[in-house]
């Protein structure tokens, strides 16, 4: 029973995690209502459009979700007529990571997957909402000012999918009138100079950057130096303490003291190195593992089809001579 309950919990957790990675990552990114000379649909018409952006770093399928400008009936999941359910049969609804999809809000759902069944130009509500496939969860809602109805500018996120909300989930900032029309592409258009171009303006000869950089390299390595210094001191102190403890526990006798040839300090590094080399050379003359083995056993070769002559050579049929 406990095991079943555990499995159920895991399944529940997985489903929540999966849900968390999917449609909840979608954002209403850009909206244009007064489309006089902007993007046209497949039929060459200028109609309002809305752009949905996938903020996740994985693919999200928007199929089954609802687009609407009237959220009435949201909490009981019973959608009204102005809810457009995105068809589940169109593979184009799968949104790769950090991409966007454009829906035409032209009240012409029979024109294709990306044509909603409402038109914001004849709506009393000034918002567009995206609702989850169960009809109960509001994924995102974008309210727009009245002036958008008569404006040729788009309204949406300054930076794709980025909206700041307060602790109650109320939107504080992140959306407004946008400078450029960017249906199906990023809202933040890079028009300014790059980082490197800015740098060359302020430091044309690279001397400033060279000085800053070499200083940073020095700071980084000085930090390591200080760390090693401190660490070395601590380590030496610990070593000293350990030696003292050992010396206290094993008091040397007069005989051992006399037989001791010299103190550790008296042996120079070169002598230690020479002793080490001599020991190494001496030990190298003894072999634990010989390169050749003398044995009375029959030598056996491991089987390999590559070494079998009868497998790799073609057998020539001999003609019987009479």
């Amino acid at each position: 029973m406990k095991r079943k309950f555990g499995l159920l919990l895991i399944a529940l957790f997985c489903s929540v995690a999966t849900f968390g990675q999917q449609t909840t990552d979608l954002r209403i990114n850009e909206l244009l209502i007064k489309n006089d000379s902007n993007m046209v649909d497949e039929y060459g018409r200028h109609v309002p459009w809305v752009e949905i952006f996938n903020t996740a770093y994985n693919s999200v399928n928007i199929a089954g979700c609802y687009l609407t400008d009237d959220t009435t009936g949201l909490w009981n999941g019973s959608g009204k007529t102005r809810w457009y359910r995105i068809p589940q049969t169109d593979p184009k609804t799968l949104m790769p990571q950090r991409t966007s999809l454009v829906f035409f809000l032209d009240n012409s759902p029979l024109y294709g997957t990306f044509h909603a069944n409402f038109d914001p130009r004849n709506s009393k509500n000034h918002y567009v909402a995206l609702i989850n496939s169960n009809g109960r969860v509001l994924i995102d809602i974008m309210e727009y000012p009245d002036s958008l109805l008569n404006s040729t500018q788009t309204y949406g996120c300054y930076v794709d999918g980025v909206i700041e909300k307060d602790k109650d989930g109320k939107e504080i900032s992140g959306r407004g009138f946008l400078e450029y029309f960017t249906p199906g592409s990023v809202n933040k258009v890079a028009t300014g100079a790059s980082k490197a171009e800015h740098l060359i303006e302020s430091d044309p000869y690279g001397i400033g950057m060279a000085l800053i950089s070499i200083s940073v390299v020095f700071v980084a390595l000085i930090l390591i130096y200080c760390m090693l210094k401190i660490f070395g001191a601590i380590s030496r102190r610990a070593e000293q303490k350990a030696k003292e403890t050992v010396a206290q526990t094993t008091q040397p006798t007069a005989a051992t003291e006399a037989s001791k040839p010299a103190t550790e300090e008296a042996i120079s590094g070169e002598v230690v190195a020479a002793i080490a080399v001599a020991l190494n050379m001496d030990l190298d003359s003894y072999h634990d593992e010989e390169s050749e083995i003398i044995t009375i056993d029959m030598p056996s070769a491991h089987y390999s089809p590559w070494s079998q002559k009868h497998l790799v050579m073609k057998t020539v049929q001999r003609r019987n001579r009479r």
Partner: protein, 381 residues
């Protein structure tokens, strides 16, 4: 029938390498052969020069476009292998292997040597400033400057981010100068030191405990990565590799990282970098300038290391002084530049073993160049 036969032969000839050959291809193939000869006959960095040289030959076999065989053609096998260079995958893996091979004991026992590794990075930034003067863009200048770090993987990593179009020339230049360390550095070292300085004997390094060796990579990654997070791929892999080696409980991983893995990546990086030097992309004035700037940055880096030691010695007590012949080891060509210090030191005093001392600034140079690379990225990327 004869006409058909003739047309077929002409068509075949046009598809063959002979039909598409140019002087550029032949010049590059000769370069490739020189690289291989240097690697095999002179034994200058054979592990790098032989794959690069063979790669140059492969990359300069002429062919008709669209056959999906060239390194720059989508779908070609070489193009898939080149992905690791373009996206900066191989250099961190090489750093993992370097970390697993490097013993930082010399540095831990004598921490002041780390500052030489910092001073030698001056070559990078001096070359950056000179490249700007010569009309290169800031990103290109940054990628060219990194040649002065004498670190092939770092040069490839930075150029793949900042100036992918110059990567072939930068990588070839960096690896060439790394191979020529024993030729380039000694004259500069002799020029900047006097006989008395060359005889300075340094104190033998103290024994370093295992605990210190284990804590070193952990503390270093925390310090350096917090300061320059852009250097994370290189520094992270370097210190991770070192932790694998020093922890004592991951011997199998350390053996793989420092053996099989680094060998595989070295083959792939050498071959594909060599292939990327197709005559049409490589034989340009920019490439010659890059080679010149690379040499200059290398000379500046070596000179800065030596001069810094001389300056540092002014503040050190007698008996604690550093032999300026190890200043050249501040560039991160491990262990070639340390070996040069040792060989030069032996020329003046047969009993003055500088190898262990030179390994300190040498490994500090690896850290320093990775930090410098991170700084270049944070400024320019």
């Amino acid at each position: 029938m004869l006409e058909f036969f003739k047309e077929g032969l002409i068509q075949f000839f046009n598809y063959s390498g002979f039909g598409n050959c140019s002087y550029g291809h032949l010049i590059m193939i000769v370069f490739g052969l020189i690289f291989i000869a240097l690697g095999i006959i002179k034994e200058y960095e054979p592990l790098l020069l032989v794959p690069i040289g063979f790669g140059i030959i492969l990359g300069n076999i002429p062919f008709t476009d669209g056959l999906q065989v060239g390194i720059y053609e989508n779908g070609a096998v070489l193009n898939y292998l080149y992905f690791g260079v373009l996206k900066g995958v191989y250099p961190p893996l090489i750093f993992l292997g370097i970390g697993a091979m490097t013993d930082f004991s010399a540095l831990i026992s004598n921490p002041k040597l780390i500052l030489i590794g910092a001073a030698a990075q001056f070559g990078i930034f001096a070359a950056y400033a000179i490249a700007l003067l010569l009309g290169f863009s800031p990103t290109e200048a940054g990628a060219i400057g990194i040649i002065g770090g004498a670190d092939g993987p770092t040069a490839i990593f930075i150029s793949s981010k900042l100036a992918p179009s110059l990567m072939g020339a930068i990588a070839i230049s960096a690896y060439s100068y790394m191979a020529l360390v024993p030729v380039i550095q000694p004259p500069i070292m002799r020029l900047l030191t006097n006989p008395k300085e060359r005889l300075i004997r340094m104190r033998p390094p103290r024994a370093v405990s295992q605990r210190e060796k284990i804590l070193f990579p952990l503390l270093c990654i925390l310090l350096t990565a917090f300061l320059v997070p852009t250097g994370l791929p290189l520094l992270g892999m370097l210190f991770f590799g070192n932790l694998l080696k020093e922890s004592g409980v991951t011997k199998r991983l350390a053996t793989t990282a420092s053996g099989t893995l680094i060998d595989i990546v070295t083959i792939l990086i050498g071959l594909t970098v060599g292939c990327s030097t197709q005559a049409t992309n490589f034989l340009k004035l920019d490439s010659i300038l890059i080679f010149g700037l690379g040499a200059l940055s290398f000379v500046i880096a070596t000179a800065s290391g030596v001069l810094f030691v001389k300056f540092f010695n002014l503040f050190l007590k007698e008996g604690n002084k550093i032999n300026p012949l190890i200043g050249n080891a501040g560039v991160s060509a491990v262990p070639d530049s340390a070996r040069v210090s040792y060989v030069e030191g032996m020329k003046y005093d047969k009993t003055n073993y500088l190898l262990m001392h030179a390994m300190g600034p040498n490994v500090a140079g690896v850290i320093g160049s990775a930090v410098a690379a991170g700084i270049l990225l944070s400024f320019l990327y």
